[in-house]
């Protein structure tokens, strides 16, 4: 599919646009593409650190008893693993990296609505991240509460929860500003002819995500402020001895954190919806339903937070209602899956790396989603709550779902910005290792959870030993795939084969501009005359 056009960076390419050079041309740039790359490299750094911590967790669980670390260290490691993965990788990752890199070009804009605010968001992200990292090495040491910071433990523990929580607050503020910026951009800066019905589905998903960022993140903000107040002032709003109620903490926390899983997964779904039609050479099936279901997920998803609290002592009525609503959200998610599969039907499918990630997304997300229904049904949840089943479930959704979509997006879009691409065969091998290792690791964990192994313990009963060993070996396969993938990808971006303007034959606007894109994205103002998956209209065979 690749056209072997010579890579000759047009003088206007965004790589050599500013008078400035060196690091300041990046960290003070207001170009959405440069900011996107800043985000990409920042989130990947934290991802790799957190992967190493995940690997340590799996090594500890390789055999019963103490393997490489004691209970306190284990608590700290899974907390930091979770905090980095959630707050510093996957939540800021999609909007920050690909929302920035791709969305403005896809709607035919020169930049986002507020370029300086955009840069400020990245700086806030870095400031928050620096505070979180500082919290690991100062005060009472890394937090050991789990990424959920549940009271009463988070009020009492001597570890450095206050500073970590403050860092997460700052990162949340960054996320809100990104949301504000993107909603405004999509409303105001669409090119002529870019009607709402012609928005690429990735843009729709970024749009829905941005609303969640705006409306849900402040609840996280106030929750974190309350933890700080509990720890520093002793207000006692969650402390039963002072009349408070710990359950209220859980409500507030999940009012944000359930919608937050849509910040993680919706853009991933958008990526998949853009990749599949290109590699099936068929217009997307059910464009309207996919776009609408993004909004439906964002809306209905804000009413289901109670499914994390079935065993926390809510009233039976609340349990029933939250359980019902959780099943309701499964509907728009399933709509998307059916539409993707229908798009494949009778398509001319080419199994290149981005497509492999997209297809495995569908499978892994479906497994994770169905496991979610087991957790969403109040009766079965009692059995598997807080077990390794939950850990398996959410890794299927956020790693197998959002994470794989992120990798797919990296293979699909990054060559456009570098003008060079990775080695295809190696990418497929890396994907295969990742996919196989992933399933071995996490499917074993789901089975262990069904058998009753709790989560967040460094030790376990001897009967869980064999599957834990299997899972740990799986994690080695998975991580070797991950390393191979990253090396191949980035080696390719800097030294690989040169690509032309439209290597995959996509019909969305980013493929109509030179590779790498010029500073202002378009050489002349684009006028959009066809839909995002109308390959004939775009003149692509």
């Amino acid at each position: 599919m690749t056209s072997a056009a010579q890579f000759s960076p047009a003088t206007s390419s965004f790589w050599n646009d500013t008078g400035k050079s060196g690091i300041t041309s990046w960290v003070f740039s207001t170009d959405h593409k440069r900011i996107g790359l800043l985000y990409l490299y920042s989130v990947l750094t934290f991802f790799l650190i957190a992967v190493s911590l995940g690997a340590l967790l799996r090594i500890e669980l390789m055999a019963p008893g103490r393997t490489i670390m004691g209970p306190q260290t284990y608590n700290a490691v899974f907390t930091v693993h979770g905090v980095l993965m959630i707050f510093l990788f996957i939540i800021p990752g999609f909007p920050g990296a690909f929302g920035n890199l791709i969305m403005p070009i896809q709607i035919g804009a020169r930049d986002v609505a507020f370029p300086r605010l955009n840069l400020f968001s990245w700086w806030l992200y870095i400031a928050g991240a620096a505070i979180i990292v500082t919290s690991l090495f100062t005060g009472g040491g890394p937090p050991d509460t789990g990424w959920t910071f549940y009271v009463p433990f988070s009020e009492r523990t001597g570890t450095n929860v206050s500073l970590a929580v403050f860092g997460v607050f700052i990162v949340g503020f960054s996320s809100i500003l990104t949301g504000v910026n993107f909603v405004t951009t999509i409303h105001r800066l669409r090119a002529e002819g870019m009607r709402w019905g012609r928005l690429p589905l990735f843009v729709w998903s970024v749009y829905a995500t941005a609303w969640v960022q705006i409306l849900a993140t402040p609840i996280l903000g106030i929750t974190l402020v309350l933890i700080l107040a509990e720890r520093v002032l002793g207000t006692g709003l969650f402390d039963p001895t002072k009349g408070g109620d710990p359950l209220m903490y859980q409500h507030l926390f999940w009012i944000y954190s359930h919608p937050a899983v849509y910040i993680m997964i919706l853009p991933g779904m958008g990526v998949i919806s853009d990749i599949i039609p290109v590699f099936a050479r068929k217009p997307i099936f059910g464009y309207k339903m996919i776009a609408f279901s993004s909004l439906a997920i964002a809306g209905a998803g804000s009413l289901v937070w109670g499914h994390h609290m079935f065993t926390s002592g809510m009233s039976d009525n609340a349990v029933l209602i939250f359980s019902f609503l959780t099943f309701v959200v499964a509907i728009p998610s399933a709509i998307k899956v059916f539409n993707w599969v229908s798009t494949l039907y009778r398509g001319s499918i080419s199994l290149e790396a981005p497509m492999l990630f997209a297809l495995s997304f569908i499978l892994l997300f479906s497994i994770g989603g169905l496991a979610g229904l087991i957790l969403g049904a109040a009766a079965t949840d009692i059995h598997v709550h807080d077990t390794q089943f939950v850990v398996g479930h959410f890794h299927y959704v956020i790693f197998g779902g959002a994470g794989f979509a992120f990798f797919g997006a990296m293979h699909y879009w990054l060559p456009k910005f570098y003008g060079r691409r990775y080695h295809e065969r190696t990418a497929v091998i890396a994907w295969a290792l990742l996919f196989v290792g992933f399933n071995i690791t996490y499917f074993s964990m789901m089975v262990l959870g069904m058998e009753g192994m709790p989560r967040r313990y460094y030790d376990y009963l001897p009967e869980f030993a064999p599957l834990n060993l299997v899972s740990t070996i799986g994690s080695w396969i998975m991580i070797s795939g991950l390393i191979l993938m990253m090396v191949n990808l980035f080696r390719g971006l800097f030294r690989g084969e040169a690509i032309g303007q439209n290597p995959w034959g996509g019909a969305t606007l980013e493929w109509s501009v030179p590779t790498p894109p010029p500073t202002e994205n378009f050489i002349e103002e684009p006028v959009v005359t066809h839909g995002p998956y109308d390959f004939k209209g775009a003149g692509i065979p």
Binding site: D17, T18, S29, T30, D31, R110, D111, A113, F114, P115, L117, I176, L177, G179, V180, N181, V183, T184, H187, R188, L189, I214, L215, A216, T217, P218, I219, G221, I222, T223, V225, L226, A229, L233, G234, T235, G236, L237, T241, K242, G243, G244, D245, M248, L252, I255, T519, E520
Partner: protein
């Protein structure tokens, strides 16, 4: 980097409104807690609320409403290109913000003096519902006070820009957005005042 030369007013205002939604939900979390704990401790909330300083509360309400009016008048003034008047009106708004904070200082000092502050021995000895009431009161009003400070700072920046001539009849989006923010700060107080001082 060449910025687009024309300014998108509608866009800038849309962005501000989105940010205001976000602010509303920030306070929303605290109002939610208020609702839940009020349902749990109706009696204690009523008793505690009777001990609030109705005088300071009412005075500050009047001050904030006046300040909102002044900032709205400043907007009209800049639209009519009356720069001096705009500056006076903005100055009045900022002055109101300062007086509001000063009253808060007097009110809180008095309450602290009476042993009412988070985690105080007096509250710990009293009924838990009252401790929750005051805990929420201090957090909500404290967060609001922080917003008054931020709003006052924003309006000061706007005033400087008016003074330097960056904000004028042809381009007053800074003032308009600053005023929007200030109205929101006022609006929060319009909810806080009855909930904590009046209705119970």
């Amino acid at each position: 980097m060449t910025q687009p030369t024309h300014k998108d007013y509608a866009g800038a205002k849309l962005g501000m409104w989105l940010f205001l939604f976000s602010e509303m939900l920030l306070f929303g979390g605290l109002f939610l807690l208020y609702g839940v704990y009020l349902a749990r401790y109706p009696q204690e909330f009523t008793t505690a609320s009777r001990h609030m300083h109705l005088f300071f509360g009412t005075l500050n309400t009047a001050i904030l409403i006046t300040s909102s009016m002044l900032v709205a008048m400043a907007l009209t003034a800049i639209q009519r290109n009356q720069r001096r008047l705009t500056l006076w009106l903005l100055g009045g708004t900022i002055f109101c913000a300062a007086v509001f904070m000063f009253n808060k200082y007097l009110e809180w000092s008095d309450e602290f003096g009476r042993g009412i502050y988070p985690n105080s021995p007096k509250l710990a000895a009293g009924p838990p519902g009252e401790s929750v009431f005051y805990g929420l009161y201090y957090l909500t009003v404290g967060l609001h006070g922080l917003h008054v400070l931020v709003g006052g700072t924003v309006l000061t920046v706007v005033a400087v820009r008016v003074w330097r001539g960056d904000v004028h009849a042809g381009d007053y989006i800074w003032l308009e957005n600053g005023a929007l923010y200030w109205h929101l700060v006022d609006l929060f107080w319009i909810f806080i005042f009855p909930l904590y001082y009046l209705v119970l």
